[in-house]
């Protein structure tokens, strides 16, 4: 079966940190950056990164496993899901497919967890669910998380991955940008910390709202981070985009992120920053 996979299809799977099922033996992943083949267990040991430094896209549950203390994640608002308010053609099928492919009900998981012993409310977006597109369910979960964090005096740590607003929900998805931003601002006014980690890719309406509103903004190496899509920009300006355009490294250079952090060091850096803000005492 694997032999019949087109190169592009395998590549798509790799980006999401999943491997094509092999005919024999252990699952393997091919790095889209250096094209090295890794055993999945080997990649797993490196938190789904490659020896060359490439960070594979990973699902929300896997990330929570890497970033929080064992069994500390308690999911909140797990029953909130987008409906199909505009009866948009094909949307219900798309939601059903996204749910079965990702095993999640929405494009974001929300809950409370401890990170090296420090309690925080966290949200983690999932690339397997319509590429983390922001619908009303996504916006509502994130808004409720900030309200929950306010009530409990907790910081919020959020991992973003998104293709942008979910167009199948029309204006209602656009409004989630304002809704989540309002919640971020209220949480901020209480003197509570909000830290974001931008992962590959963070774009569109998520970049233009809660992703870029953190007090501290971290980014994983090599992630695509931007507002407008590359193709749209190329069509508008009719010139070739510079090398490294819309990457973590470029936004750091232009002053829109605080630091680039490798996945293996994220947990340590995040818990250090939380403690520096007085949490976990």
């Amino acid at each position: 079966m694997m032999l019949n996979f087109e190169h592009k299809a395998v590549n798509e799977l790799e980006k999401e940190g999943r491997s094509a099922a092999p005919l024999f033996g252990e699952a393997e992943v091919v790095c889209p950056n250096c094209h090295r083949t890794l055993k999945e267990s080997q990649a797993e040991e490196m938190m789904m990164t490659c020896l060359c430094g490439h960070h594979f896209r990973i699902g929300a549950r896997k990330r929570i496993g890497y970033m929080t203390d064992e069994n500390s994640f308690q999911e909140l608002f797990e029953d909130i899901v987008s409906t199909d308010p505009l009866s948009f053609p094909g949307y219900r099928d798309k939601l059903t497919k996204a749910r079965s492919m990702s095993g999640e009900k929405e494009a974001v998981l929300t809950g409370t967890a401890s990170i090296n012993g420090v309690s925080a409310d966290i949200f983690v977006m999932d690339p397997g669910f319509m590429m983390g597109s922001m619908g009303a369910g996504t916006g509502e979960k994130i808004t409720r998380l900030f309200e929950h964090a306010m009530e409990h005096g907790l910081p919020v740590v959020g991992w973003t991955v998104s293709g942008g607003a979910r167009m199948q929900e029309g204006l209602l998805s656009l409004m989630q940008m304002a809704k989540t931003s309002g919640a971020v601002r209220r949480h901020s006014d209480r003197g509570l910390l909000y830290l974001t980690v931008l992962t590959d890719p963070t774009t569109g309406g998520v970049t233009a709202s809660f992703a870029m509103e953190g007090d501290i903004i971290l980014a994983e190496p090599g992630a695509t981070i931007g507002f407008a899509g590359k193709r749209v920009i190329e069509e508008t300006v009719r010139q070739q985009l510079p090398k490294g355009f819309q990457t973590s490294e470029s936004i750091l250079e232009h002053g829109f992120a605080d630091m680039i952090v490798r996945r293996s060091e994220e947990k340590e850096i995040i818990s250090r920053l939380l403690r520096l803000h007085g949490y976990g005492r």
């Binding site: 204006l171 209602l172 233009a208 809660f210 509103e213 920009i233 300006v237």
Partner: protein, 247 residues
Amino acid sequence: MTSRPTSADYIYSIFTDFTELHGDRRFGDDKAVIGGIAWLEDIPVTVIGIEKGHDTAERMERSFGAPEPEGYRKALRLMRQAEKFKRPVITFVDTSGAYCGIEAEERGQGAAIAENLMEMSALTVPVISILIGEGGSGGALALAVSDRVWMLENAVYSVISPEGCASILWRDTAKAAEAAAALCLTAQDALSLGIAEKVISEDRLGTDAFYTSLRNDIVREIRALMEAGDLRENRYMRFRSFGGYQS
């Protein structure tokens, strides 16, 4: 379409002594956004508009009303001044979207819009936004986190252009009309979703009577909002209520 009034037409027709202020005090002055201080009858107000321009030369100069990050930052600077001096804010929105350019990205287009959304949610002065033509996605919303959103009868407000939507979903821009219908982007749609409070008739669009009537509506609404309790809380709840989810 060429004769449709732009933000500047509204501003000079509705307000008196409009005094334009320039620059974001960070990098530059984006001509796609105009803003300043003016009288609304006897009330000093801050007025901001996304300006497309009237003839080709002016349109080029104003990027056809597609703001760069500096445009959003200029708007934010003026809104912060409004907050300081307790002036109501009126914005006129008319854009196909934030400018999609290399430098716009490098100077933080996403971050600029995000900051406006967050800061507008916290303003304690009344804010009314009027969508007079195109309301293109985040680039429009960045000036419309308001207490009241009004739309001209033929204005649109959408998360994505119909062409963009058709291209992504069906890989066929020819299906733009189909996408437009599915996106529910008309003023009537926005009204029924509660995203706009009012649809403004275009029967006498651009005439003195049109502007007088709109001025009267704005004055009445601003006076009501100035008396209306906790604007910030109400504005949060206004946007908080937009759903389409179940729990």
